[in-house]
Symmetry: C2
Subunit: 344 residues, 2 copies
DNA sequence: TCTGGCACTCGTGTGCGCAGAGTGCCAGGG
DNA sequence: CCCTGGCACTCTGCGCACACGAGTGCCAGA
C-alpha cells in the first residue's frame, strides 16, 4: 500500500517536472495530451489529468481559465527547484569560453564589467554583479598626500583592488614629517587587517602624537573611518536589460516595474543581500521582497577570492526560466570570478 | 506680392508648429479640424488642409495612411527645432530644485550619479552623463607608493576629482629615497598640466637620475603614460530606462534596439562625441549614426568646470519629444553641474 | 487503479458591417 | 488670387456573431 502511494506521488512529481519543462520551453499552458506526447510517462492523458487535478488542488499548478492548459505556480517552481531539478553543469567548451573571456580583464572594474556581460549573455537574462564589498576585504595600503598646507588627500587601497579617496580639510597646517609619521603608523597597524577591524586598531593613535598634532590626526582618522564605514559605496553593475524584451506579451506592465527596480541600487543590493552567503539562493516570484519583482525570479550566489565570499552576483529573469541552466551558469561564473580575484 | 508669399509661408510654419505641438501632446496623428479648434489660426480647416498638403509635398509631415491625420517627419522636427522653437527656460522653483539636489553630492561619482538621475526625472526620458574626461582635465597630484620591494602603486589624481590607479612591477628593488625623488620631480613638472601634455614634459626625466635607477624610472613613466592615454576609461552613467516603457504601442520592436544601444558604452560615447563641444546638439531620428536609435532623438551638450567643456551629457527620447522643454532641462542641468565642478 | 469515451466550457480567430475621422477636390465668394 | 464651405471617398477601429479547437471533468468499465 505504502509502496503504491509513493508510486503515485512519484508520478505526480514527474508530471510536475514535465509541466515545468514544457512550459519553460514553449511559454504556453501545457495540456495533458501534449504532455504524454512529449514525455514517455507510460500512462494515458486521462491519468495525467487526474494527477493534474491533484497538483492543482495542492497549489502547484493553475489554469488561467477553464479549458486551458496548466501553468506552474510559484509554489510549483519552488518544488521543482528544491526536489526535481539538478543544477546543470556547464559544458567543457562553455567553461573554456568563460575562462577565456574573464582572463582578459585588466583591473577590478574590468573584471566586474566582463562578468556581468558574460552572465547576461550566458543566461540571456538580466545579470547583476556586486563589487567586492569593502567590509569583507582587507587594507592593502593607506596613502596620505598633502595637496595644500591644510588639505590632505586620503587614499584607501584594498586587497580586492578597490580604491577609495577622500579629501580631508585639516584644522591647521600639516607638516610633511607629521604626515609621513602618521602614514607610517597607520599602515603599520592597519595593513592586512579587515576593514571593520581598522577603527579599533587605530583608536589610540592620536595619543601617540604631540599634543599639537592631535587635532589633525583625529580629523584624518575620522575621515578614514567614514570611508571605511560607508555602506553606500556598495556598488553594483548590471547588464542584459535588453533581454527583458523577451519577457512576455503583456509587455509594458511586466517590464516597467522591473526596469524601475533595476535602477534602484538599494533594491538590488537588498535583493543580493538576502543571499545566504556562499550557498546559491533562488527567490521565486512573490518570494521577492520587492513587489516590482513579483513576477520574476532571482538566482544569486556569493563569490570571493579564496575560500570566503566577498560579494554576490546573480541573475534576474521571468519565473518561467530555465532554472537548472541558469543555476549552472551562475555557479560557474561565480567560481571563475573567485579564481580571477584570488590570482590578482 | 513678396509680402503675400511670406505671409503664406509664415502660416505654413505656424501650421507645422501647431502639428508638432499637438502631436507631441496627444501622440496621435493630428487632423485639420482638431488643429483649428486648438490653435487660433484664424483660417478654416480647408485652408489648413491645403497647407498641410504643401507641407507634405515638401516632406515635413506625412500621413500613416489615407484619411488619417498628419505626423511630423524627422525633417519636420528639424525645422521645428531650428526655426520654430525657443528653448524653454526652467522655472525658478525648478532651478532651485536642481541646485538643491546637486548640492548634496559628496564626490565625483556622486555628482555624476545625481546628475543623471535628476536629468532622467526632469525630462522623463533616458539620461546619459559622461564622466569628466581625462584628456581635458589637468593633473592635481601623482602619488607613488611602495607596496613591496619591487612593486609600486601609482595614483593619478585629476582636478575633476577623478582617481586612476595602476600597479607597477619594477625591474629591481626601489629605494625609498629614489621613489621620493621621483615623486617630487614628477609632481613639480606635471602638476597643473593638462593630461595630454604630461608625457612631453616628463620625457627627459630618466636622464636626470643615476644610471642605475633609470630602468625603474622609465617603467614607472611608461605606466603613467598608459594611464594618461587610456581612452577606454571614458565612463558613462545612465538612468531612466524605465521611462522607455512610455515609448509607444509597437513596443518590443521600439524598445529592444534602444536598450541594446544603451548597454554599449561605445555607442553612447560616440553619440555624445558627436556633440560639437559647448553648443547644444539635437540629433533627430535618422540623423543618429547608430541605427538602433533611428526612431529616437538625442539632445546633448557639453559641460565643464569653468569656461571650457570637459565632458558631455544628454537625453535620449522618442523623436516625438518636447524639444523646448528637454533642451531647457539639459541646458540648465549642464550649467549647474559645471558650477558644482568648478567649486569643488 | 488506470483507461477510453463523452459532453461541456471557454478563449481565439474570422468575417461582416458600421461609425467616425480625415482627406482631396471643386465651385463660389471676397 | 486666395480662402471657404460642401461633398464624396477612403481608410481604420470596433463590436458582434459564429464556428473551431483545445482542454477539461467525470463516469463506467477493465
Amino acid at each position: 500500500m505504502a509502496g503504491e502511494v509513493r508510486q503515485l506521488d512519484d508520478r505526480k512529481l514527474a508530471v510536475l517536472r514535465a509541466i515545468v519543462q514544457d512550459y519553460v520551453g514553449t511559454e504556453e499552458p501545457v495540456g495533458s495530451k501534449a504532455l504524454v506526447d512529449r514525455h514517455n510517462l507510460g500512462v494515458s492523458p486521462a491519468t495525467v489529468r487526474n494527477d493534474m487535478a491533484a497538483l492543482e488542488e495542492e497549489g502547484y499548478i493553475h489554469q488561467p481559465h477553464t479549458s486551458a492548459g496548466r501553468i506552474p505556480t510559484d509554489k510549483g517552481y519552488r518544488l521543482f527547484v528544491d526536489k526535481l531539478a539538478e543544477v546543470k553543469p556547464m559544458s567543457a567548451p562553455e567553461r573554456r569560453a568563460i575562462r577565456h573571456f574573464l582572463d582578459g580583464a585588466v583591473d577590478l572594474d574590468d573584471v566586474v564589467a566582463r562578468t556581468v556581460r558574460l552572465l547576461a549573455q550566458l543566461t540571456r537574462q538580466v545579470a547583476v554583479v556586486q563589487y567586492p564589498s569593502l567590509t569583507r576585504s582587507t587594507v592593502r595600503h593607506i596613502e596620505l598626500v598633502a595637496l595644500a598646507p591644510a588639505k590632505v588627500m586620503l587614499v584607501l587601497i584594498t586587497n580586492t583592488g578597490r580604491v577609495e579617496q577622500r579629501m580631508v580639510d585639516c584644522p591647521g597646517t600639516v607638516g610633511e614629517t607629521v604626515l609621513a609619521d602618521l602614514r607610517a603608523r597607520i599602515n603599520a597597524r592597519a595593513a592586512g587587517q579587515r576593514l571593520p577591524d581598522v577603527p579599533g586598531l587605530l583608536e589610540e593613535l592620536p595619543a601617540t602624537f604631540e599634543q599639537i598634532d592631535r587635532p589633525t590626526v583625529s580629523t584624518v582618522l575620522v575621515t578614514l573611518f567614514e570611508a571605511l564605514a560607508e555602506q553606500s559605496e556598495e556598488r553594483i553593475m548590471l547588464a542584459g536589460t535588453a533581454n527583458l524584451t523577451r519577457l512576455g506579451h503583456d509587455f509594458p506592465l511586466t517590464i516597467q516595474p522591473v526596469l524601475e527596480a533595476l535602477e534602484e541600487q538599494v533594491v538590488l543590493l537588498r535583493l543580493l543581500g538576502e543571499t545566504t552567503d556562499a550557498a546559491m539562493t533562488v527567490r521565486i516570484g512573490r518570494e521577492n521582497a520587492y513587489e516590482g519583482l513579483n513576477s520574476t525570479s532571482v538566482v544569486s550566489v556569493g563569490y570571493g577570492s579564496g575560500d570566503e565570499s566577498v560579494a554576490k552576483l546573480g541573475v534576474i529573469g521571468p519565473t518561467r526560466m530555465d532554472y537548472p541552466g541558469t543555476m549552472g551558469a551562475v555557479r560557474a561564473v561565480a567560481r571563475y570570478v573567485g579564481q580571477i580575484l584570488a590570482e590578482s
